[in-house]
Symmetry: C2
Subunit: 132 residues, 2 copies
Amino acid sequence: MKYIDKLRNSGLRPTKQRLQICKVLFDTKKTFHFTINDLAKKIKKQINDNISLATIYNTIHAFEKKGYLKQIPINSNETYFDTNISDHHHFYDLKEERLIDLENSDVGPINIKKKINGKKIKSVEVLVKLED
Amino acid sequence: MKYIDKLRNSGLRPTKQRLQICKVLFDTKKTFHFTINDLAKKIKKQINDNISLATIYNTIHAFEKKGYLKQIPINSNETYFDTNISDHHHFYDLKEERLIDLENSDVGPINIKKKINGKKIKSVEVLVKLED
DNA sequence: CACTTATTTAGAATCATTATAAAGTATTCC
DNA sequence: GGAATACTTTATAATGATTCTAAATAAGTG
């Protein structure tokens, strides 16, 4: 029922589909990275039920807007999301096309000295590209 | 003739189209960010000649592979490129969907403490998202 | 339960990017 | 210079992720 409350509290109706997606995304101790395509496969495997692709897109975007997911800035034809919404960074292994978490403690503090008038910093994200 | 040599030296034939694209990209003191669509418009305006979109894609990818351009990691439906290939970072103004350079001196040194076995760091890129 | 509003859905539409394959151009070697 | 070869360009088609549409369904409210 924790997901029912979570959804209700953010103004999202707790539908069967959203609850199933919550389960796949958040019913695990480990956080993970995924694309919509990854997620669709995972859903198909874990729940014995079909959720329309459009619904997966809608839900992921709603969750991202509510702050339950983060997009990872990376150049790829697919959009990557992260269930780890804490302030942290990523390695990207160019050869294996794989994202690896960098804990905040793995990166020294980042000091942005420049200011832009009337703008606030919303996030600071570091992408470290790896090669062999 | 500098572009002819530049291209030849990297194993690319100096074709008319590539030279024209070089002119648009590199014949200016200022570096800039662009998408393929931006660039196509710029080419149309600056040279009175048509270059096929396929050629623009081919050329930009060739230039990126040779290190004359960098892709900017950002979530957008279009790929952003940068003629500034030096080690530097970006602000991204979410509202105006605009990229702004952060000189290396605007960002304190970034210390990546974690190591991945057998992998070398190729680049470290910081994206600072701005909101109002 | 009736009513309003949000959500789901299949399929179509969109749009950036990549593939194709034929015509054109640069390079090489004589 | 003039083949022969290899690389490029090009228009167009294909691909593939994402978004749109509009009808059907489900949730919230009184």
